[in-house]
Amino acid sequence: MSIWIDKNSRILVQGMTGKYGQYHTRMMLEYGSNIVAGVTPGKGGEKVLGVPVFDRVEEAVAQTGANVSIILVPARFAESAIFEAALSDVPLVVCITEHIPIQDMLRIMAYLKDRPVRLLGPNCPGLITPGECKVGIMPGPVHIPGPVGVVSRSGTLTYEVARSLTNANCGQSTVVGIGGDPIHGTNFIDVLSAFEEDPKTELLVLLGEIGGDDEEKAGAWLKANSSKPAIAFIAGQTAPAGKRMGHAGAVIRGGKGTATSKIESLRDCGVHVVSKIADIGPLAVKILGK
C-alpha cells in the first residue's frame, strides 16, 4: 500500500518534449514509472522515448487512460496546463514548475475548490512510492519501500531525509513534496490524512520550514486525528525576518512563521521534533521498535 500513486498509476507528462521534460521523463521511465502519454501542443503524433505525444490532455486521457499528470512546462504556461488537466478530469495533477505568478495560483485554487482534482505543488519535487512509481524529479535510488510516510515543503532536503531513513533501513511508503510556494494545492493535512488511512504507513515524517502556519495546523491536526507517531524537522531557525529564503513561501512576516514557533507548537502536539536531519533515521528505527 501507499498513497495516491502505485505501480498501476498511468502517468501523463505535460511538457514532455522539452529538454527538461524529456530528461525527467527518462528518469521516471528508468525508475519504472508507467508513463503512458506526453502532451506538447503542436507535437501530437510524435513519439518521445517510446511514449506517444498528444496535442491536448483530453485526447491523451481518452486514448491512454492516464490518471496522474506531471507538469514540467515553463512558468508562464503552467496556469493553462493546470486548468487543462483539471478540465480533463485528471484526478491527480503534480506541478513541478516553479516561479508561477501568485495571482495565477489564486485563480487556479478558486477554480479547483470543490472540484474532484488534487493538485500537488507547484514548485515541488513530486511524489514517489518507492519501488513502484515515481512522479517527480527526486533521485530514485535514495528511497526504499517501507513503513514511513514523508511529507515535505522542500526538495533536496527531502532527499536528504529519505537517505537518512534509507541508511537506517527504514523504508518509505510514499514520500510527498508539497512545494515551497505560499499558494499551493495539497497541504500537510491532506497528506497526513491519507497516510492515516494507509495501513502500510506506520510512522510519519514532516519536514517544514519558516513562513505561514501550515506546520502549526498540521501539528494540531495530528494531535486531534492521528493514531501514528510523527517526527518533524523545521528548516530556517537562523533565517532573518522579512527575507524570502529561496522559496517564495519561506519568509517570516510580522513575527509570524518562525521556526521556533513551529517547533514549539509541534512539540506541544506530541510530535518528535529533531534538530539534526541525521537524527531522523535512528529515531525512526527507535520508534518503529526495530
Binding site: S154, Y159, E160, P182, T238, M245, G246, H247, A248, A278
Partner: protein
C-alpha cells in the same frame, strides 16, 4: 520587487488615490527650485530607500523653513541611511521626496496582501495608523478581510470595513472608492503587498495616502514591462545584484561562513547546522535543486566577492545531479580566485568518486565530508583554527 515610496505614490495616483503634493530631488541643483514651490508652512523631507524604519533613523524630516529644508535635503542626498531593516551598511539615498505638510486629523493603517491560508487577497486595516502599528499592543487591532476572488472588492465589503472602523457616513464614499481602486491596483499589477500607512483624514476632511509601500511579484514581471523600469539596482548590495543577474536565490546574513547549497530547504537546514556547530552563516545561497556547472561557479563567485566570508561550505545533494558537473563548477570558480579560504565540500550523487578525485587533483586543500552536520562542524573548526593561528 520593491519600489520607492515616490514611485508607489505615482501608482496610487494612476488609480485615483490622493497623495500629498510633492516633488522629487535627485541633484543638489534642484533643491531650491523644489523647496520654493512648497506652499504650506511645513514641508516633509523623505529619503527614498527600500527599507522601513526611516522615520526613527532620521530619514524623514519635517522642516519649517527654507533653510532647514536645504540643510535636511543636503544632509540626506547622496548619503546612506541605516535603519533597523537595512543592515549596518545602509542603503544609498539617491533621491529625496519633498512633500507639502498635511494637517492630520486621524491616521489609519491600510494594506492589501496575499493570504496564504485562505488563498486569496486580504485587506488589513487598523485605526492604529502611522508608527503605532508597529507597537506590539496594537497588533491585535488589525482587522482582516478575505476578498473572494470571484466577487472582488464590492461596495458591501468596503461598507463593512467602514462600519468596523466606525467611520462617519460622510467618509464612506471616499473609503469605498479607495478600497476598490487599491484592489484594482493590486490585481492589475500582480502585487504581493500594497501598504498605505498612514492613510489619513486631514483636518480639512480630505483622505490622503501619506506613505505607500508596494511589492510586486517577481514571477509576474514578464507581463509588466512598465514595472521593471521602476527597479532601482542601487538599493541592492553587489552580492544581491550578482545573484539576481545569475538567477540564484541569495540572502545576505551577518556571519562569516559562506554557504552554497542546492535547494532552498536544504540551504536553510545548512545554515541551521552551521549555527548549531557554533558558526554564523554569511548568507543563504540556493543554486537550484539541479545544480549545474554554471550555477555552482556563479554562486562561488558571489561568496568570494563578499569580504566578510572567511570560509566556504559547499553542500550539494546530487541525487539526479552528476557530481562531476558540480566539481567542474567549483574548479572553474576557484581557478579565478586569489583568496585562500578554507573550503569544505559535501557531495552526494552520481559520479561522486570521480568528482572528489578531480577536485583533489585541482587543489589538495579542499576537504570532503559525508554529511551536512559533519561539514558544518568542520568549516567552523577550520575558521576557528585560522583565527587562532
Amino acid at each position: 520587487m520593491l519600489i520607492h515610496e515616490y514611485q508607489a505614490k505615482q501608482k496610487l495616483q494612476e488609480y485615483k488615490i490622493p497623495v500629498p503634493k510633492g516633488a522629487l530631488i535627485t541633484r543638489d541643483e534642484e533643491i531650491i527650485q523644489v523647496l520654493r514651490k512648497t506652499e504650506t508652512p511645513v514641508a516633509v523631507i523623505k529619503a527614498q530607500v527600500h527599507a522601513g524604519g526611516r522615520g526613527k533613523a532620521g530619514g524623514v524630516v519635517v522642516v519649517e523653513s527654507l533653510l532647514d529644508g536645504i540643510t535636511a535635503v543636503r544632509r540626506l542626498l547622496g548619503s546612506k541611511l541605516v535603519t533597523n531593516q537595512t543592515g549596518a551598511e545602509g542603503k544609498p539615498i539617491d533621491a529625496v521626496l519633498v512633500e507639502e505638510g498635511v494637517n492630520i486629523d486621524q491616521e489609519y493603517y491600510l494594506a492589501l496582501t496575499i493570504n496564504r491560508s485562505s488563498q486569496c487577497i486580504s485587506l488589513l486595516v487598523s485605526t492604529a495608523g502611522g508608527m503605532n502599528i508597529e507597537a506590539k499592543e496594537h497588533a491585535g487591532s488589525i482587522k482582516q478581510y478575505d476578498i473572494d476572488p470571484q466577487v472582488g472588492m464590492r461596495d458591501f465589503v468596503a461598507i463593512r470595513v467602514c462600519q468596523d472602523l466606525m467611520l462617519a457616513r460622510k467618509d464612506w464614499p471616499a473609503w469605498i472608492a479607495t478600497l476598490q481602486n487599491l484592489y484594482r491596483c493590486f490585481t492589475e499589477n500582480d502585487a504581493l503587498l500594497i501598504e498605505i500607512n498612514p492613510f489619513i483624514r486631514s483636518k480639512e476632511g480630505e483622505w490622503i495616502a501619506l506613505d505607500a509601500k508596494m511589492d510586486f511579484d517577481d514571477n509576474a514581471l514578464y507581463r509588466h514591462p512598465e514595472l521593471v523600469l521602476l527597479q532601482d539596482d542601487r538599493q541592492q548590495t553587489v552580492s544581491e545584484l550578482l545573484a539576481a543577474h545569475y538567477d540564484l536565490s541569495y540572502v545576505s546574513l551577518d556571519g562569516t561562513i559562506g554557504c552554497l547549497v542546492n535547494g532552498a530547504g536544504l540551504a536553510m537546514a545548512t545554515m541551521d547546522a552551521i549555527k548549531e556547530a557554533g558558526g554564523e552563516p554569511a548568507n543563504f545561497l540556493d543554486v537550484g535543486g539541479s545544480a549545474t556547472t554554471i550555477s555552482v561557479a556563479n554562486g562561488l563567485d558571489i561568496l568570494y566577492h563578499d569580504s566578510r566570508v572567511e570560509g566556504v561550505f559547499i553542500n550539494v545533494f546530487g541525487g539526479i545531479v552528476r557530481c562531476d558537473i558540480v566539481a567542474e563548477g567549483i574548479i572553474r570558480a576557484l581557478q579565478k580566485q586569489r583568496k585562500d579560504l578554507p573550503v569544505v565540500i559535501r557531495l552526494e550523487g552520481n559520479m561522486k568518486e570521480e568528482a572528489i578525485e578531480a577536485l583533489t587533483a585541482f587543489s589538495p586543500n579542499l576537504e570532503f565530508v559525508d554529511n551536512l552536520e559533519n561539514g558544518a562542524a568542520l568549516i567552523v573548526q577550520r575558521i576557528n583554527e585560522r583565527k587562532m593561528a
